[in-house]
């Protein structure tokens, strides 16, 4: 049973998330907190964009509102309000819900591009307005607070914050998943498919879209609240378009059509940022490159690719696929190396440091260090290395791509299975 397998898989993931973190360093514990927050943010966002088909470009608004509302509640707790620290995210949920209802009422009057633009406008409105509202948002520097102890728990260590975050994220994921099984969850998909038909079946589509928007904003607010609790501070930058864009990228790279797709995207991107941002300043460029490649060659996202393979687990001819897959991986590695080599070389040669060296060298092109080796910009070898790598890799990829496609074709269309509705098996059981 596929659902049994999923259940075991999820239990295993949860067990790892519960047991492993105490043995990790502070950096990793912090990274895990960020991964959990990003995962919830992306899932909440995808309720609107993936399930209802309403692409929002301004979800930073509800993330930020959740964070600020929580910080204000934390400040009140500092002043003696007896509010339990573990329940602080409720403030974020409430703020997200209320702001989401208002913004949702207006933005869901339109669909498609106009909807996206209205959501963008709301976020930009908050972004430009909040620095001027000193009392509420603390001006440009923002507001800060401290986590107060509760019932003997101090909430001083990252690990305590981690477990608090884990609890809220797991609870939210459970609720968001249960949502998909309710009548309203099914209506959400129907609106994505054909909003007009829904109206002629007795539904007020605008109200429905507004409620979906508000629920999405509510869980986004919880994510913002968890961020505020973790950082103990927030400023107006939370409303920035970069935050809104990040969640769009993560969701689509992970796969918007699959429930856990956004989590895959959020985990990959947050891990990528954590691991690669220390190594190179060009990490945002690589992140953008990955996004473009996924959209071009795997539009269903990483989650879509994984799902495709999981569904064909028993049918697929894995021994036949092993060789072309290995060759494809090698080709990708070669092309990837060439791209990284060129990117880093360009970053050095057009960097500040090199321009100083260039001036000092008076006309000559000085050498530079990269990947632990010395290179000269005028040596043919410097440019031959990436050219050969990219050339061999590209030929390999080009050749093996046809082989892989042919192998899948020969196994029969995997689409025939994926086109079955998600609850197909259950339905047949129920009809009996």
């Amino acid at each position: 049973m596929a659902s049994m397998r999923n259940l075991i898989l999820m239990a295993a993931v949860l067990a790892v998330l519960l047991i492993v973190p105490p043995f990790l360093g502070l950096g990793w514990q912090n990274a895990l907190v960020n991964i959990l927050i990003a995962s919830l943010f992306a899932l909440a966002f995808n309720l609107l964009s993936g399930q209802a088909g309403l692409l929002s470009f301004g979800h930073a608004a509800y993330f930020g509102m959740g964070a600020f509302a929580t910080l204000h509640l934390m400040l009140a707790v500092e002043d003696g309000l007896g509010f339990p620290t573990p329940l602080l995210p409720l403030a974020g949920a409430l703020a997200g819900l209320v702001v989401g209802l208002v913004a949702g009422y207006f933005s869901t009057m339109r669909s498609g591009v106009y909807f996206a633009l209205v959501t963008l406008a709301f976020a930009e409105l908050f972004h430009s307005l909040t620095p001027h509202l000193q009392g509420l948002f603390g001006g440009e520097s923002g507001i800060s607070s401290m986590r107060m102890p509760w019932q003997g728990i101090i909430f001083g260590s990252v690990l305590e914050v981690y477990y608090l975050t884990l609890g809220w994220v797991m609870l939210s994921i459970l609720v968001l998943w249960a949502y998909t099984r309710t009548p309203f969850g099914r209506l959400t998909l129907a609106i994505r498919d054909n909003e007009q038909r829904v109206r002629f079946l007795g539904y007020n589509a605008h109200t429905a879209k507004m409620v979906i928007f508000a629920i999405s904003a509510m869980f986004t607010g919880v994510a913002g609240a968890l961020q505020a609790i973790s950082n103990e501070t927030a400023n107006y930058a939370l409303f920035g378009s970069q935050i809104s864009a990040q969640v769009v990228l993560q969701t689509f790279v992970g796969g918007a059509t699959i429930f856990f797709g956004p989590v895959v995207g959020a985990v990959s991107f947050t891990l990528f940022a954590y691991l690669v941002s220390d190594l190179t300043r060009s990490w945002l460029f690589y992140q953008g490159l990955i996004f473009v490649l996924v959209m071009l060659y795997a539009p269903a996202g990483i989650g879509g690719v994984v799902q495709h393979h999981m569904r064909s687990l028993r049918r697929a001819d894995w021994t036949g696929l092993a060789k072309p897959y290995a060759l494809a991986a090698l080709g990708a590695l070669l092309v990837g190396s060439a791209v990284i080599y060129l990117t880093e070389t360009v970053a050095v040669l057009f960097g500040e440091e090199y321009s100083v060296n260039l001036r000092n060298a008076a006309g000559a092109y000085p050498g530079y260090h990269l990947f632990g080796l010395s290179w000269s910009p005028v040596s043919p070898l410097t440019w031959l290395v990436p050219l050969v790598l990219a050339g061999v890799g590209a030929v390999l990829l080009f050749k093996v791509r046809g082989t892989i496609a042919a192998k899948w074709e020969a196994m029969g269309r995997p689409e025939t299975e994926s086109t079955k509705a998600p609850d197909a098996a259950k339905l047949k059981g129920g009809a009996a």
Binding site: T182, R186, K420, L427
Partner: protein
């Protein structure tokens, strides 16, 4: 057309309905009275305004002037979802389903609306037995049992048309509007569709746009001829086919069959 003033016995009554898009007038004072329980066809040449008429009745477009009454109560100015809740359901000329939902799900959406669990958020839909049973019954009625779990977008064209008819039944409306339900079908498919429409509209009021005169003859009690925004005549199919004015305006060579 003096009967128009009577409020009783009519499932659907249009009084002096006009519609203009800017300067262009597409409905020029339509009067139409559909008796409760009758099967009524609207025929007319392309561009006569048949689909516009349906769009006006179902609330997709607002009327410019005139009145439309459903079971004696005016529905002018109501949004589509309220007209549907008042007891009128429609299909569309171009197939209008939820292509990426299962066939069963397509039908269940309407059943949920009928039972007022539109915004149900606190119970899984799989446990709502009565709703699932009802959706399954309609599934059987339109002969799509075997396709229940398939995505609606994967159905054949005539299956999709059957699904579309099924969807108009889900909300429990007693006035059904079908817009060219047999368009693009083969002869056998059309015969099947006619039988399906006959059985599912038993005891209900049917208003349909139809081009195929053989369908009109075998299915409908009365016919109205719409020509360029005017009702030219309303009568039994036989009388209409013998009406000289109608023959000139529309039927022409088609009556030869």
């Amino acid at each position: 057309m003096s009967t128009l003033h009577s409020q009783t016995g009519f499932a659907l009554q249009l009084t002096d309905v006009t519609k203009s898009f800017g300067e262009i007038s597409v409905m020029k004072g339509v009067n139409l009275a559909i008796k409760a329980g009758e099967r009524h066809a609207v025929i007319g040449p392309n561009g006569a305004g048949k689909s516009t008429l349906f769009n006006l009745i179902s609330g997709m477009f607002p009327v410019t002037s005139g009145d439309i009454a459903l079971n004696g109560r005016s529905i002018v100015g109501l949004p589509p979802y309220q007209i549907n809740r008042s007891g009128l359901a429609r299909s569309f000329q171009i197939t209008n389903i939820f292509p990426r939902l299962s066939v069963f799900e397509n039908l269940r959406i309407g059943v949920l609306a009928r039972h007022n669990v539109r915004f149900g958020l606190f119970q899984p839909v799989s446990r709502m037995r009565r709703i699932n049973d009802e959706a399954r019954a309609i599934l059987a009625e339109v002969g799509l049992d075997a396709r229940a779990a398939d995505m609606a977008g994967d159905l054949t064209y005539s299956e999709q048309r059957a699904l579309e008819i099924g969807m108009t039944l889900t909300t429990g409306a007693d006035v059904i509007l079908l817009d060219e339900p047999t368009a693009g079908m083969s002869r056998e498919e059309t015969a099947q569709a006619v039988e399906l429409i006959r059985s599912v509209t038993e005891g209900k009021t049917l208003l349909m746009v139809e081009h195929d005169m053989s369908v009109v003859f075998s299915l409908c009690d009365r016919v109205s001829v719409l020509v360029y925004g005017n009702i030219l005549a309303t009568d039994t199919p036989k009388a209409i086919s013998e009406n000289r004015e109608v023959q000139e305006a529309y039927l022409g060579e088609e009556t030869a069959s």
